[in-house]
Amino acid sequence: MNLTYNEAYQKLSKLVDQIEDDKIQLDTLADKVKQAKELIDYCETKLRFIDNDVTAALSEKKPKKKIK
């Protein structure tokens, strides 16, 4: 993901609006929630890490499987 804050914010608020719309189907909900969560993570991490660090920081968040 390489978005400006503005792009991320626009996307996120659009997703939340869609999710709040009662007509949304349950099977598309999961996908939209996932996308929204990714955008939230992206913004919150980007505020605390500079540019290139963001991708690294985001991937570190998911625990990696240890190879024995």
Binding site: N6, E20, V33, I40
Partner: protein
């Protein structure tokens, strides 16, 4: 030729004449000062008084502040927010002195501060008027407020890449960086420093040069901060400079100022976003980002609330369906004492389909009763 006299004899005579005419007398004069040399440690200040016609100097004399009058210089700088420096026009009280070796000069006893400040204010107002009159494309004055194209630039939603223009090893630089680094939210910033002298002669040109460097790589920055801290020597004159003010007003990146002067607002402050002190500039930037994060958090809350509500609703619907299905299921009905009648393995809904003497099955809770129809009649049950 008369017999020559010694130099000292002539000088003594000059001294006598001057003493006769000027001893014990003081004068108020208005003049421009130049060649100002301050020696703060000794509390002396040497200068020249001049008067000009156009660019031509038509009168000139040395002047001096001794330590008893040096406070007047310090006070001028405090009141005006400017260095006591060449180019100022002042009104002051002087005494004429003659020294047998160093010649004639004027000893300054006190400065008329109201005159000096008034003069500076007039100059400042002239600069402001000129900015408005000569740059209608990007500076407008409406109801006492200066609208500039720089001030109307929208601030990016997050300010993270900051270019600061400040003096090296200055309080302003330190205060700003400290406040940014110690922000309570753990935000990261990239601060690029453009260091230059920011007070004294020529500073406004040096600041313009730094801004030009920033403009060249303007995509790399969200905001420009011009900061300077307090300090014993304060000189805000560079920030009242016409060229610098004009450049700031039309600069393509948002500029925030923390030039730090309680009493006075510089012209550069009026052309950009003014946050007074370096610390305030930094904390405002941090809060700006916090506001963004708050909006994100609100969206996050809305998201969680909505998904929870939707899943609850779906669960409720499912439960309702389950109940309905159960209520209508044959086993529920049979348990209540109702029966199902079939004939030729067809469920009978209409009794007309049952012929006399035909075989029917009556399905009850656990058993099936086989019977032959012997009689049919209307019932009088109130169902």
């Amino acid at each position: 030729m008369p017999k020559p006299i010694k130099l000292s004899e002539l000088i003594n005579e000059i001294d006598d004449v001057i003493q006769d005419r000027f001893a014990g007398e003081t004068f108020w004069i208005t003049a421009e000062v130049t060649d100002v040399k301050k020696q703060p440690d000794k509390r002396w200040c040497f200068l020249k008084f001049i008067e000009k016609e156009g660019n031509l100097i038509t009168a000139e004399i040395k002047g001096v502040f001794w330590s008893n009058a040096y406070d007047s210089v310090v006070r001028f700088e405090k009141l005006s927010g400017q260095l006591f420096a060449s180019g100022l026009e002042i009104t002051c009280q002087v005494r004429v002195r003659f020294h047998k070796r160093f010649g004639i000069d004027l000893e300054v006893l006190e400065i008329d501060h109201s005159y000096a400040l008034g003069k500076l204010e007039t100059e400042r107002q002239q600069t402001l008027d000129r900015l408005v009159n000569e740059n209608p494309a990007f500076i407008r004055l409406v109801d006492g407020y200066y609208f500039t194209s720089n001030k109307s630039l929208e601030l990016p939603i997050v300010l993270q890449r900051i270019a600061i223009v400040t003096a090296p090893d200055s309080d302003g630089q330190r205060d700003f960086k400290q406040e940014i680094a110690n922000n309570p939210y753990g935000y990261t910033f990239s601060v690029s420093e453009f260091l230059t002298q920011i007070q004294g002669d020529n500073s406004s040109t040096l600041i313009i040069q730094k801004l030009k460097q920033i403009e060249v790589e303007k995509e790399k920055f969200d905001v420009v901060a011009i900061v300077r801290g307090g300090g014993s020597q304060t000189d805000f004159k560079p920030f009242d400079d016409y060229d610098l003010s004009k450049y700031v007003a039309s600069f393509p990146l948002p500029i925030v100022t923390g030039i730090g002067h309680d009493r006075n607002t510089s012209i550069v402050d009026l052309m950009a976003r003014q946050y007074k002190t370096p610390t305030k500039v930094a904390s405002t930037i941090v809060e700006h980002n916090f506001n963004f994060e708050t909006e994100i958090t609100e969206l996050k809350d809305r998201l969680l609330e909505t998904t929870e509500r939707m899943l609850d609703k779906a669960k409720d619907n499912l439960l309702q369906l389950k109940r309905t299905v159960k209520a209508y299921s044959p086993s529920t009905i049979l348990n209540k004492g109702y029966a199902i009648i079939t004939s030729n393995n067809q469920i009978i809904i209409d009794p007309k389909d049952i012929k006399l003497k035909s075989e029917i099955k009556t399905i009850l809770k656990n058993e099936v009763i086989h019977s032959t129809v012997t009689k049919k009649s209307k019932h009088e049950l109130d169902l």
